[in-house]
């Protein structure tokens, strides 16, 4: 099956270079709706949904394939192959920052630069390493997701049926934001929050920008600093924006930081 269809790939903008945007756990490519358009004048932009999220083909969800990040990494590389992408700028949020790191190692030449927004190579504390969460806390999240299918079912999922707050974006609006199959959401949460890719950071060989939010409880500042220390020659920018989703809460700050890098 075509990766472009499977991952609901959307291509906009034009320019000699391409910028690939990858959304993290909990949402879909709408996550980039206030950031990606700012680059459409200079870049071709490629946005996609991880399998199970947004407008992706849910029939393509194979629990064995997506039992680790490598399934998502393979998808990203396949999208790159099918679109003939070389030397692109990769912008990944949250878990997809690490998916981009892994893809850059597995497919040299695909990405010329990495922008990691709120990256975390490991969410669970381990000895001296501070990930921000204990193992039982991650289990609590997984249990919560497992027992909350009612509030998270396909028909009840947080959905918007028109009347967006920002009518200027209304025409792009699909029938909902952040749709995710509840079962897949739980699997993806498990893969995300139990991942450990600390050893891969040293293998990154392309210029890398790390955007660290203030007061991000999912990927706290020590984690961003850890990534900065372990990715050779990387640049760390502390954003004033608080929370885990600066691409939504402070898009202009994110846009400025990316502009300064590319």
């Amino acid at each position: 099956m075509s990766a472009v269809v499977r991952n609901n790939v959307r291509i906009r903008g034009s320019g000699p270079k391409t910028m690939v945007f990858a959304h993290g756990y909990g949402c879909d490519q709408n996550m980039w709706r206030y950031v990606a358009p700012a680059f459409e004048a200079q870049f071709r932009t490629v946005l996609f949904d991880q399998v199970g999220a947004g407008g992706s083909d849910r029939a393509a969800y194979d629990p064995a394939k997506y039992a680790s990040l490598s399934g998502y990494v393979d998808d990203l590389i396949q999208i790159g192959e099918q679109l003939g992408l070389r030397d692109t700028v990769f912008v990944g949020h949250s878990v997809s920052a690490m998916i981009g790191v892994l893809a850059s190692i597995a497919a040299p030449g695909l990405f010329g630069q990495l922008v990691l927004v709120g990256p975390s190579p490991r969410y669970v504390d381990d000895g001296d390493y501070v990930g921000g969460f204990s193992s039982p806390q991650v289990d609590e999240l997984l249990d919560f997701l497992g027992s909350n299918h009612m509030g998270w079912s396909n028909t009840m999922a947080p959905a918007i049926m028109g009347n967006p707050d920002r009518p200027e974006l209304g025409e792009e609006l699909t029938d909902s934001f952040c749709r995710m199959d509840p079962g897949i959401a739980r699997d993806f949460a498990r893969v995300t929050f139990t991942s450990d890719n600390r050893a891969d950071l040293a293998l990154v060989s392309v210029p890398t920008l790390i955007l660290q939010c203030s007061d991000d409880v999912i990927a706290p500042t020590p984690v961003g600093e850890y990534v900065h220390r372990h990715v050779k020659g990387s640049t760390l920018v502390h954003l004033r924006a608080s929370g885990h989703c600066p691409n939504l809460s402070a898009p202009s700050e994110v846009i400025a930081a990316i502009r300064g890098f590319v």
């Binding site: 993290g24 756990y25 909990g26 949402c27 709408n30 996550m31 709706r33 949250s94 969460f133 806390q137 991650v138 609590e140 999240l141 997984l142 249990d143 919560f144 997701l145 027992s147 909350n148 299918h149 009612m150 509030g151 998270w152 009840m156 947080p158 918007i160 967006p164 707050d165 920002r166 934001f177 952040c178 929050f193 409880v217 999912i218 608080s242 929370g243 885990h244 989703c245 939504l248 809460s249």
Partner: protein, 374 residues
């Protein structure tokens, strides 16, 4: 009456909480304070996410927060509040972002509805769904077994028709030939051939009957005798089988001086099935070698033949009913012989095993001389 708006806010059956643009609590009502066991004024300045259990908070930060930013509201969010005594308080929450005339984010208002009972109900529904899925899987498994059995049955009937007709046709043509005026030695050979076909049909019918019984749940019935002299019984089986294949060599080596506790006719059937199998599938130019003896407290009977070895994948399935290796219809039995032999071995608390090499294929039956519990 006249409603007191302030009291309505403070003591409403909903918890109300207003957050500033930074997500910190600007105001909360007494209902919320009461639910979580913390004075309302102490809540001011705290982050809303810090009121949540860690699991809920992770979900809130990754899923509900983005929704608020994008669509300005969320509805029916399942959330767990942390209570002062370390417990959880389940709520449903709706939220609305308040903006000024320029679209600047001023505040977020949340209304939370107690849903502890509802949450239990959901849990029960989920548990019921899980149970129903388990039942469904079991039903599917039963259905699959039934389908398999039904396929086996059809196969069985087809094979039965075919395999009983073959010896029957031989008997029929033999009988027609006997009507003619033949030399005595030719008559004897014809008679032996007919006898051979009768033995084969009779053994097929025995197997079919035993298989049907086994499938019906009764297992292979044994008629155990305490002191069976097996040697002569095995000789008799060999003699009967030789009639059908006068040109084949069957070498025997029996050392069975002591009486043995077993079902003699079942052991004869087991051996007959093994010999029949070896004569059918073994290389025609090589003898079939049969050995029987007692080693310590174990009776061992083995039957070996030459010819191409049995492929590895087939070995594991040899003792399943209707297993017939490659399809060579001209020389097939029902595919029940080895299955029945293996069942007879089990009924005697014994085993039937096979080894297959380019040198020989050997089936070995072993049973304890002293049956457990006897």
């Amino acid at each position: 009456m006249t409603e007191d708006y302030e009291d309505l806010y403070r003591n409403a059956p909903f918890a109300y909480v207003s957050l500033d643009a930074d997500g910190r609590i600007a105001m909360a009502n007494d209902t919320l304070a009461d639910w979580i066991g913390c004075p309302a004024h102490d809540l001011r300045g705290q982050r809303f996410r810090d009121l949540l259990t860690v699991g809920t908070m992770m979900h809130y930060e990754t899923s509900y927060s983005p929704l608020l930013a994008m669509q300005g509201h969320f509805d029916e969010a399942s959330l767990d509040l942390r209570t002062a005594d370390g417990g959880k308080f389940a709520v449903f929450g709706n939220a609305r972002v308040v903006r000024d005339a320029d679209g600047q984010h001023l505040a977020t208002r949340l209304a939370l509805l107690k849903s502890t009972g509802r949450r239990l109900y959901e849990r029960e529904i989920l548990d019921a769904r899980d149970r129903s899925e388990t039942t469904e899987r079991a039903t599917q498994a039963t259905l699959a077994t039934e389908r398999e059995t039904s396929e086996l049955r059809e196969q069985f009937i087809a094979v039965l028709g075919h395999d009983l007709r073959n010896p029957l046709a031989s008997i029929s043509s033999g009988a027609r030939l006997l009507q003619r005026d033949l030399r005595p030695e030719r008559r004897t050979r014809l008679f032996e051939a007919i006898q051979g076909s009768v033995v084969r049909m009779s053994s097929l019918i025995d197997n079919v009957m035993d298989f049907a019984r086994g499938r019906l749940g009764a297992g292979i019935p044994l008629d155990l005798r305490p002191d069976v002299m097996l040697g002569p019984i095995l000789e008799q089986v060999v003699t009967e089988l030789r009639i059908g294949v006068p040109d084949r060599a069957i070498e025997t080596a029996f050392a069975l001086p002591e009486p043995i506790r077993c079902d003699p006719s079942r052991i004869a059937q087991l051996v007959s099935n093994l010999l029949g199998n070896a004569l059918t599938h073994g290389a025609k130019g090589e003898p079939v070698r049969m050995r029987a003896g007692v080693d310590g407290a174990t009776l061992t009977i083995s039957v070996a033949n030459g010819g191409a070895p049995i492929p590895e994948p087939a070995l594991a399935r040899l003792f399943q009913p209707f297993f017939r290796g490659e399809v060579r219809p001209s020389q097939q039995g029902l595919g029940l012989g080895l299955h029945i032999a293996s069942e007879i071995a089990k009924a005697h608390a014994g085993t039937l095993g096979v080894t297959s090499t380019p040198a020989e294929t050997r089936f070995t039956f072993r049973m304890p001389l002293h049956l457990p519990g006897s």
